[in-house]
């Protein structure tokens, strides 16, 4: 979808009525370019999100909290790696670790979709060396988490062993 905005856009009128078109879409269907120019009302009718529907994520989160203010915090989703709860995320809109994206996927997806202008999947740059696979990223994250806990509880023997494990793990090329 391509949105055009500004003076040249304003000159067009809605395909379905005589009101000025505010939403401009170009769709490619079977190699054919189809242009759509719609007013706010007709755009909504076509199920196209109109600008005013868009809200930054913080606002979305606040509304989400309001909507669910009655629900019991006992059902709070928790990331099993870093211990971050979804309610905590709603408060400051920061996730705890990469694994949170998986742990909170269900409630996060609709929020992301709205905040990201219907974007749901990454398009664009991919790390050049392809980095390490997602499975290994997760393993490493969990090992480091265990290490941090061992250090915190002053179990230095375990910490030393985990540190060795991590450097060995990191040294292994996939």
């Amino acid at each position: 979808m391509v949105l055009v905005w500004g003076p040249q856009a304003v000159k067009k009128i809605c395909d379905k009525c005589n009101h000025p078109a505010t939403v401009h879409e170009v769709e490619i269907v079977k190699g054919q370019k189809i242009e759509k120019h719609l007013c706010d009302d007709h755009a909504r009718e076509e199920g196209i999100a109109v600008g005013a529907d868009y809200k930054p994520i913080n606002e979305l989160l606040t509304n989400f909290v309001k909507m669910h203010s009655g629900s019991a915090p006992a059902h709070d989703l928790v990331c099993d790696n870093c211990g971050m709860g979804f309610s905590e995320f709603r408060e400051n809109s920061l996730l705890g670790c990469p694994q949170c994206y998986i742990a909170f996927e269900a409630p996060l997806s609709p929020l992301l979709e709205r905040a990201q202008d219907n974007g749901t999947h990454h398009i664009g740059k991919v790390p050049q060396r392809c980095g390490i696979g997602e499975r290994r990223q997760e393993q490493l994250l969990r090992m480091r988490n265990r290490l941090a806990e061992a250090v915190k509880s002053e179990d230095f023997e375990l910490a030393a062993r985990l540190r060795d494990d991590i450097s060995q793990f990191e040294g292994v090329v996939e």
């Binding site: 500004g6 600008g51 930054p56 994520i57 996730l95 905040a115 990201q116 974007g119 398009i123 980095g131």
Partner: protein, 353 residues
């Protein structure tokens, strides 16, 4: 540790020589990145942040990037220097405030790029250019990203792309922004229309110093909000070919309208600004930004030739508190600072007595 040349040099982006610099002061592209296998900054232990810092420093300071790069640990950095980096847009206010030994920034001495370490994300790589130079800025930031990535694995998923602490950055992790000077749209009252239109196509409009700051000096930052589901090229191209040219066209129309319909009022604003800036004995920072804005408009429209654009661009920065105190060589508060500001401006405008 000293900021050395950064204090005395005006950054590349300030020279005001870039394309379309009559309306666009600067272009900025920044990438948010996190190291694989570590929790995000806000959930990490001190040891983990130190380890992240070490890895990033090794890669930034011992490789292809190291030449002319200054490494600044923010805790050891004097308050006024941190503030100066904020005024230069090299670090965020949030980063400057932190009391954390594991926070740092790498800045190149020409101030074309900065890399914040352990801010909201492990890495925030930003490139700043004068005028409209988005493609160039992206090319540079992408190159830096590639160099860092040679040794460091990033947290990345096929579905969500580059994983960031705040989901508003996930995907490309890229924020593109331009700093616009829109005095005529402000004077003609059209600015709210532009703000609304920009918001409608999912762009954020902010003031001079980012989130929550007001548009003093008629300076506006416009940036993309969408980072997921659109490629870097798509986001950049929309900015470079649609958003920026249209805002420039609007501002130019408003400037022409002022010239044709309200030229006396326009000249009055410009010459009042000149009169106050060259005569006042005490000046507040917000007042100065407003007056400099009118003066800049006057110079760009050829209504006043007593000063050049570069001097005005520099004064936008030099009149800020930290810059003022660095130039003065000592701390200044309240009335003394306002007096020092007025003096500096008179001197720079060639009106000192």
């Amino acid at each position: 540790m000293t900021l050395g040349r950064i204090t005395t040099n005006a950054g590349e982006w300030l020279r005001g020589a870039g394309p379309r610099s009559d309306v666009v002061l600067s272009s900025r592209v920044r990438l948010a990145r996190n190291l694989a296998g570590f929790p995000f900054v806000s959930r990490s232990s001190r040891r983990q942040r130190e380890e992240i810092l070490e890895r990033c420093r090794d890669q930034i300071m011992n490789g292809q990037l190291a030449e002319n790069v200054l490494w600044v640990g923010l805790v050891e950095c004097p308050q006024v220097d941190c503030q100066l980096l904020v005024e230069r847009h090299l670090i965020s206010r949030q980063h400057a405030r932190a009391n954390d030994l594991a926070r740092a920034v790498a800045v190149d001495t020409n101030e074309t790029f900065s890399i914040m370490v352990n801010e909201e994300d492990h890495l925030r790589i930003a490139v700043l250019r004068s005028g409209v130079q988005l493609a160039e800025a992206f090319e540079q930031v992408n190159r830096i990203d590639n160099i860092i990535e040679k040794k460091l694995d990033y947290a990345f998923s096929k579905r969500f792309g580059y994983l960031t602490a705040c989901p508003t950055n996930v995907g490309t992790g890229m924020r593109v922004s331009v700093m616009l000077h829109l005095p005529a749209l402000k004077l003609t009252g059209e600015i709210d229309k532009v703000r609304r239109a920009a918001r409608d196509i999912h762009l954020a409009v902010r003031g001079l110093f980012g989130e929550g700051s007001e548009a003093h000096g008629d300076l506006y930052q416009i940036s993309n909000q969408t980072t997921l589901g659109r490629s870097e090229q798509e986001i950049l191209s929309e900015f470079e070919h649609t958003v920026v040219p249209q805002i420039i066209a609007y501002e130019q129309q408003a400037r022409q309208a002022l010239l044709q319909q309200r030229s006396v009022q326009l000249d009055d604003k410009i010459w009042r600004a000149w009169a106050i800036l060259t005569q006042a004995r005490m000046l507040g920072s917000e007042e100065v930004l407003t007056l400099l804005s009118h003066l800049r408009l006057g110079v760009n429209l050829g209504r006043i030739q007593t000063v050049d654009i570069q001097t005005i661009n520099e004064l936008f920065l030099l009149s800020q508190p930290a810059h003022l105190q660095k130039i003065n060589g000592s701390a200044m508060e309240g009335a003394v600072r306002r007096q020092g500001r007025a003096e500096l401006i008179r001197r720079r405008l060639g009106a000192a007595d």
